[in-house]
C-alpha cells in the first residue's frame, strides 16, 4: 500500500528506548505516526475528472513510471516534484497535503515524458496541470508564475493571431515586477533587429482575417475560465469534519 502522507514519515530519534531488554535507541528512519484521517474531499477527484484534460485520472494505478522519468524529479532533482503523489492526493481528496505542494506543482515544464511512458494511458502532464488549476481556480492557492505567463501568452497571441515575442517578454516582466537591465535588452534587441528577427509593436506580424476570429476565441477563453472558477469554488467538501 502506498504511503498516504509523506509528512508523517520522518526520522524519529529516540534517546533511550528499550524493547524486551534490548537497547534500540537511535534513528528510526521510517516511523509512521498514527492518526485518524477525517477531512478527505472526494470533490477534488470529481472536479478533475470533469475537466477536459483531467478525465484520465481514474486510470492511474500508482506505479510511479511518470515520476521515475520525470525531468523535474530526476534531472532537475526536485524530489518533492512527484506527479504520482499529486495524482494520489487528488484521488483520495487530501486537500491539506495537496496545498503544501501548491508552489511545486506549477513547475512542470510539459516535456510529456510521463504521457509517453504511462502504461495506463493517463495524460499525466495534463492531469497534473488540472490538479494545479484546481488549487488556483478554487482560491486555495495564489496564481503561479507559470500561470501568469500562460495568461500573458494567450492574451498576446489572441490579439493578432501571431505571437509578438518581445511584447510578451515586456508584459511578463511587468506582471512579475522584474526589470532586465536596459543594456542587456539593447544588446540582444539590436542584434535581432539588424538581422530582421524582431517583429514587435508596429512591426508585429498579424494573421489576415483575424478580426473575425479574435472575439470568438476571446469569448471561449472567458467562458472556460469562468466555468472552471465557478465549478472549482463550488467543490467545498460535503459533510466535512474538522479534525
Amino acid at each position: 500500500m502506498p504511503i498516504v502522507e509523506k509528512s508523517l514519515v520522518r526520522v524519529k530519534r529516540t534517546e533511550k528506548l528499550e524493547l524486551d531488554g534490548i537497547d534500540v535507541s537511535g534513528d528510526w528512519n521510517t516511523f509512521l505516526e498514527s492518526r485518524v484521517q477525517t477531512d478527505l474531499d472526494v470533490g477534488i477527484v470529481d472536479w478533475v475528472r470533469s475537466q477536459p484534460q483531467g478525465d484520465t485520472i481514474d486510470r492511474c494505478w500508482q506505479c510511479g513510471t511518470c515520476t521515475a522519468g520525470c525531468c523535474m524529479h530526476t534531472d532537475y532533482g526536485l524530489e518533492e516534484f512527484n506527479p504520482r503523489y499529486f495524482i494520489y492526493l487528488a484521488q483520495i481528496g487530501y486537500e491539506e497535503e495537496l496545498r503544501r505542494y501548491a508552489q511545486t506543482i506549477w513547475r512542470c515544464v510539459s516535456c510529456n515524458k510521463c504521457v509517453e511512458r504511462c502504461p495506463k494511458g493517463v495524460k499525466v502532464e495534463e492531469v497534473v496541470h488540472t490538479i494545479g488549476t484546481y488549487l488556483e481556480a478554487s482560491g486555495r492557492a495564489p496564481e503561479s508564475p507559470a500561470d501568469r505567463f500562460d495568461r500573458a501568452y494567450t492574451e498576446n497571441l489572441l490579439d493578432r493571431g501571431i505571437l509578438d515575442e518581445a511584447g510578451l517578454f515586456r508584459t511578463y516582466e511587468r506582471l512579475e515586477g522584474r526589470k532586465t537591465p536596459v543594456r542587456e535588452l539593447l544588446r540582444m534587441g539590436t542584434s535581432l533587429l539588424l538581422s530582421g528577427r524582431l517583429h514587435t509593436g508596429p512591426l508585429a506580424h498579424r494573421t489576415k482575417g483575424w478580426r473575425r476570429m479574435r472575439p470568438v476565441l476571446k469569448g471561449l477563453l472567458d467562458e472556460d475560465l469562468r466555468q472552471r472558477r465557478e465549478s472549482a469554488q463550488a467543490t467545498r467538501p460535503v459533510g466535512r469534519r474538522e479534525p
Binding site: 500562460d150 515575442e165 535581432l192
Partner: protein, 310 residues
C-alpha cells in the same frame, strides 16, 4: 478519421508548410536554412499563408477549446489548399497540431462550429502532421542526402539534440506506433542525416530527448538555465564540438541563457548550438552566410571558420 496505427495518411507531392510564430521571427535562420536544404534535395513545401500561432503548450492550461481551435484553424487552411501533409519545423507546433488531430468526433464538431463563427473553413481531421526532420528523412532518404553532399562535415563532432515534443507523446504524434516514424525513446533520424553529411555523430549523447526548459524560459529561470546547461554539458561529456537542434524554441531558449550558464557553470560548459538544417545546408554546398550561422548567439560560425568552413 485516419487510423494512425496503420499509416500517417495520404501524402502530397508538395506538402503544406506551417511556419508557426518562430520561423518568421526569432527562428529566421532555421527557416532560411530549411529552404536551402529542401531546394538542394529537390523537395518543396507550400507555405500556409494566413496561419496563426498554434498555442504550443501554454494555451491549453487556460482553455481546452481555444487550445484546440487554434491548431485546427491551421490544419483546416492546409486542407483547403488541398493538402493532406502538414510539415512543421517546431516541436511545440508538432505537439499542438497533432493534439488537435486527437480530438474525438464530438469535440471536432464543436471546434468546427467555433471555426465557422470565426470565418475559417471546417476541419475534417484528415491532416497528417510531421516534423520537418521526419519529412527530410523519409522523403529524401539517407542515400539521396549522401549523394547530394558537396562539402562533407568531416571531423565535426555533433551532438544530436531532439528535445522533448518532437516525438512525445506517441498518442498525439504517432511517433513509435505509426510505420515510418522515429523511435521516441532513442530517436535516430537526425543521427542518420548528419552522418550522411559526413559528421561524426555522438550517438550515445545522453541529453538527446531531455527538456530544455523552454516552456518556462521566463517563468522559472532556474529550471530553464539548468536544463539548457545540461544539454551543453552532456554534449561536452560525449566529446562533441557542436549541438544540433531541431526546434526553434529549444535553440532560442538555450542561446538566451548563455550568459547565465556562463555565470553559473563556467565558460567551459558552453558549446556552439546550430539548427540541424544550418549544418546540412553547409554540407550541401551553401555558405555560412547563406545558412545565417552568424545569427546564432552561440556563434557556431566562429568555430566552423576555424575548421575551414566559409
Amino acid at each position: 478519421m485516419i487510423d494512425r496505427s496503420q499509416s500517417r495518411g495520404p501524402s502530397d507531392p508538395v506538402p503544406a508548410y506551417y511556419p508557426g510564430c518562430s520561423m518568421d521571427g526569432l527562428g529566421k535562420a532555421y527557416e532560411v536554412s530549411c529552404q536551402l536544404v529542401l531546394d538542394r534535395l529537390g523537395l518543396a513545401m507550400d507555405r500556409i499563408v494566413d496561419y496563426n500561432c498554434c498555442g504550443a503548450t501554454e494555451v491549453k492550461n487556460l482553455s481546452e477549446e481555444v487550445s484546440l481551435t487554434l491548431p485546427a484553424r491551421n490544419l483546416s487552411m492546409a486542407r483547403s489548399m488541398g493538402r493532406h501533409e502538414v510539415i512543421a519545423a517546431c516541436n511545440g507546433c508538432v505537439y499542438s497540431l497533432t493534439r488537435a488531430n486527437d480530438a474525438d468526433e464530438t469535440t471536432r464538431s464543436r471546434i468546427n462550429s467555433h471555426l465557422e463563427k470565426g470565418g475559417a473553413p471546417a476541419y475534417d481531421g484528415e491532416a497528417n502532421v510531421q516534423h520537418v526532420l521526419e519529412f527530410i528523412h523519409n522523403r529524401a532518404g539517407v542515400p539521396r542526402v549522401r549523394a547530394a553532399v558537396r562539402r562533407p562535415l568531416a571531423g565535426l563532432k555533433v551532438a544530436p539534440y531532439y528535445g522533448c515534443l518532437y516525438s512525445r507523446p506517441k498518442r498525439y504524434t504517432g511517433v513509435g506506433v505509426t510505420p515510418g516514424t522515429d523511435n521516441p525513446e532513442h530517436p535516430f533520424f537526425l543521427d542518420e542525416l548528419l552522418e550522411a553529411c559526413g559528421a561524426t555523430v555522438m550517438r550515445d549523447y545522453l541529453a538527446k530527448t531531455i527538456c530544455c526548459g523552454g516552456g518556462h524560459a521566463l517563468s522559472d529561470l532556474d529550471v530553464s538555465v539548468a536544463f539548457s546547461a545540461s544539454v551543453m554539458n552532456e554534449a561536452k561529456r560525449a566529446g562533441a564540438d557542436l549541438v544540433a537542434t531541431i526546434c526553434p524554441l529549444g535553440q532560442i531558449n538555450i542561446e538566451n541563457n548563455l550568459d547565465r550558464i556562463r555565470q553559473a557553470y563556467g565558460e567551459e560548459t558552453l558549446v556552439p548550438v546550430a539548427y540541424f538544417t544550418q549544418l546540412m545546408a553547409l554540407a550541401l554546398g551553401a555558405s555560412m552566410r547563406e545558412a545565417r550561422l552568424k545569427d546564432n548567439f552561440s556563434r557556431p560560425d566562429r568555430f566552423l571558420r576555424e575548421r575551414g568552413f566559409h
